[in-house]
């Protein structure tokens, strides 16, 4: 799967956008600017972008509580996301959802999700709709290592196999579910082996390498589009911040995050690979960095100055028809 220059630039831009979005949120949350619970995706960018680069705008994704990266990778409007996270009018959900519930149905982004294990059944349903419409779309269910212990996820995987639904279960294994280690919570320690036992191909790859993620996803997408049913992808990856912002991370090893940033950083890996292969110049990447920082700055300013949602918004959208 050879990526052209535009695709590579887009991939880098999206990963960098996610990173800077989250780094900035980390600061703004520290300043008390942002209401509610926020779970940052920093460190995991190559998973979201590698997967979504293998999808079309029409394909579906369902996300998790840690959803900002999936949203950006699927093409959600960045200033609109920022306004949403600030709880402002003009946010992608009009300020009614917040960080944990960002969605953009026009982009095939069926929602971040505050319920661990809430998403995979939804993805199976979207995949059934695509199958029946014969439109060739696929659905991706993003989830964490912790989500694989939820009964809803088992049910969704088995049903997808039974129905040959064009769905891809993505497990982003960052080693932790909140404060609990994956070696404790996942009985066999092997998420992919579980998926395989349901009767679907299950691949493991390095989640810090955009290219590995992209290639594994392309293969699964092709299988799904051609009627070959579901697949499972497990990506080893790390998160740079706490489970949610403001959490003390006492369960982490000494210097763990610094080491991960040093050795597992997806942006560093990407820059090195495209540099070595002479696909994109460092100067071009630096230009993108500057543009990304400008976008983040203007998004924050836009969110800060946006008006509050109007009072009547409390009562609207409960139903479509009354």
């Amino acid at each position: 799967m050879q990526l052209n220059r535009d695709q590579l630039e887009r991939a880098y831009r999206q990963m960098k956008t996610i990173r800077e979005f989250e780094e900035r949120l980390h600061i703004e949350i520290g300043l008390g600017e942002i209401p509610g619970f926020t779970h940052l995706y920093a460190g995991q960018e190559a998973c979201a972008v590698g997967v979504c680069e293998a999808l079309t705008n029409e394909d579906y994704i369902v996300s998790t509580h840690r959803g900002h990266g999936h949203c950006i990778a699927k093409g959600c409007d960045v200033p609109g996301m920022m306004k949403e996270i600030y709880g402002k009018a003009g946010g992608l959900c009009d300020g009614k959802g917040g960080s944990m519930h960002i969605a953009d149905l026009n982009k095939g982004m069926l929602g971040a999700n505050g319920i661990v294990g809430g998403g995979p059944p939804l993805a199976v349903g979207a995949a059934i709709a695509a199958r029946n419409a014969g439109n060739g779309r696929v659905a991706v269910a993003f989830g964490g290592d912790g989500s694989c212990n939820q009964g809803t996820v088992f049910e969704a995987m088995n049903m997808a196999v039974v129905l040959k639904a064009p769905v891809i279960f993505v497990f982003e294994n960052n080693g932790y579910s909140e404060h609990t280690g994956v070696s404790y919570a996942v009985g066999s320690g092997d998420i992919s082996a579980r998926s395989a036992a349901f009767g679907m191909p299950a691949i493991k790859a390095d989640g810090s390498d955009f290219f590995s993620v992209y290639e594994a996803t392309c293969e699964a997408v092709e299988r799904a589009r051609n009627g070959g049913g579901p697949s499972s992808l497990e990506f080893a990856i790390c998160r740079y911040y706490g489970h949610a912002e403001g959490e003390p991370q006492r369960y982490r090893g000494k210097g763990e995050v610094a080491r991960l940033r040093e050795t597992m950083d997806c942006l560093t890996h990407f820059r090195r690979k495209v540099g070595e292969a002479q696909l994109l110049s460092p100067e071009r990447l630096d230009e993108i960095d500057v543009e990304v920082l400008e976008l983040i700055e203007s998004s924050v300013q836009g969110a800060r100055t946006a008006p509050l949602p109007p009072a009547e918004a409390l009562f609207t959208n409960v139903y479509n028809a009354y």
């Binding site: 959900c93 505050g114 939820q150 609990t180």
Partner: protein
């Protein structure tokens, strides 16, 4: 007696009940924290720190972390209870009951009746309730109304540190399944709490203010709003009974009915959605059993029938507050 927070009162109760009875076990997601990590166990003691220190004292068999598997957590509690343990499990947010309701609703709550008696299911599901933290639509809800609707399930709603400790002890020592709703906005509030253990009998309300003009019934955090309003109105010469039922199942119907018979006016303040919520339940009780004592229509202060919005200004508008409760009381009093 000393001053303790709501959080510390609950934590102390768990310690003391585990000490009293070896059959008391505690499990749930991150109730130890740090299992399978480099930082090691008891890195946290619950995401709200309610179970801190238990694992260090009582060890792996009695205090353990579980995977993210709410249905298995509650079901295992029910099975363990039938087999002689007294599990106290934590479901981090009551919003997650969607995943484990079957184990409460079709399993634990019905054993004794379906089996023709003789089934003891001494289990407690500790969970959190309440909006006001911008935690949005899936981490803020009040659903004790639907659990109250389950025959066989007891439902506890402590509004202060003293009640939290005494009600939890009663729940742990009882023989029936209980859902214990901790209001996450109350964790930091402080009050007098005896150091020794004690139990508050279930089904006994607490008259937190005494008056003659109106009866305000309020639940959980809403009790504090009702108290504040009653204090303010007292300065204007309007006095109210404020009733904190403390448990919605069993419910102290007598205390409510007796009060309304004296005051002739009822205001109910509840954080559940209004349809089939506690406010209408209490209104129905009074309308059907004490109608002739009412001097004015019953007033209900609840959120609107919407999900809980994220934006702080909308969430503020969603929630009952002192101004809304005061207006309701004055209206019930004909605009006094």
């Amino acid at each position: 007696m000393s001053i303790k927070s709501y959080r510390d009162a609950i934590n102390e109760c768990l310690h003391q009940e585990m000490e009293r009875d070896v059959n008391v076990v505690v499990f749930g997601e991150d109730v130890v924290g740090g299992s399978g990590t480099e930082g090691g166990k008891e890195a946290i003691g619950g995401v709200f720190s309610l179970t801190a220190g238990l694992w260090g004292k009582y060890g792996d068999n009695r205090v353990f972390d579980t995977p993210i598997s709410e249905s298995a957590i509650v079901g295992a509690a029910a099975g363990a209870a039938l087999a002689g343990l007294r599990p106290v499990v934590e479901i981090m947010f009551s919003d997650f009951f969607g995943l484990c309701l079957d184990q409460m609703y079709n399993q634990a709550a019905k054993f004794n009746y379906m089996f023709g008696g003789g089934a003891k299911t001494p289990m407690v599901v500790r969970t959190t309730t309440g909006a006001g933290m911008s935690a949005a639509a899936q981490h803020s809800q009040s659903n004790y109304n639907w659990v109250t609707n389950i025959p066989g399930m007891k439902v506890l709603l402590p509004s202060n540190p003293y009640d939290a400790k005494g009600l939890l002890a009663a729940a742990i020592r009882g023989e029936d399944p209980v859902v214990f709703y901790e209001n996450k906005l109350l964790y930091g509030i402080k009050g007098e709490v005896p150091d020794d253990t004690y139990v508050i009998p279930l089904g006994k309300g607490n008259l937190t203010r005494q008056g003659k003009d109106a009866t305000i019934v309020a639940f959980s955090r809403m009790v504090h709003i009702a108290n504040a309003v009653a204090d303010r109105l007292a300065a204007d010469g309007i006095t109210c009974d404020v009733i904190d039922p403390r448990t919605t199942s069993p419910l102290d119907e007598e205390m409510i009915l007796e009060s309304v018979q004296e005051t002739g006016r009822l205001i109910v303040v509840d954080e559940c959605n209004p349809r089939c919520g506690l406010a209408r339940d209490i209104a129905g009780l009074v309308a059907s059993q004490a109608f002739e004592f009412l001097d004015a229509p019953i007033k209900l202060v609840t959120p609107p029938h919407t999900p809980i919005p994220f934006a702080p200004n909308l969430e503020h508008a969603y929630l009952p507050n002192e101004a809304k409760v005061e207006a309701a009381v004055r209206e019930a009093l004909g605009g006094r």
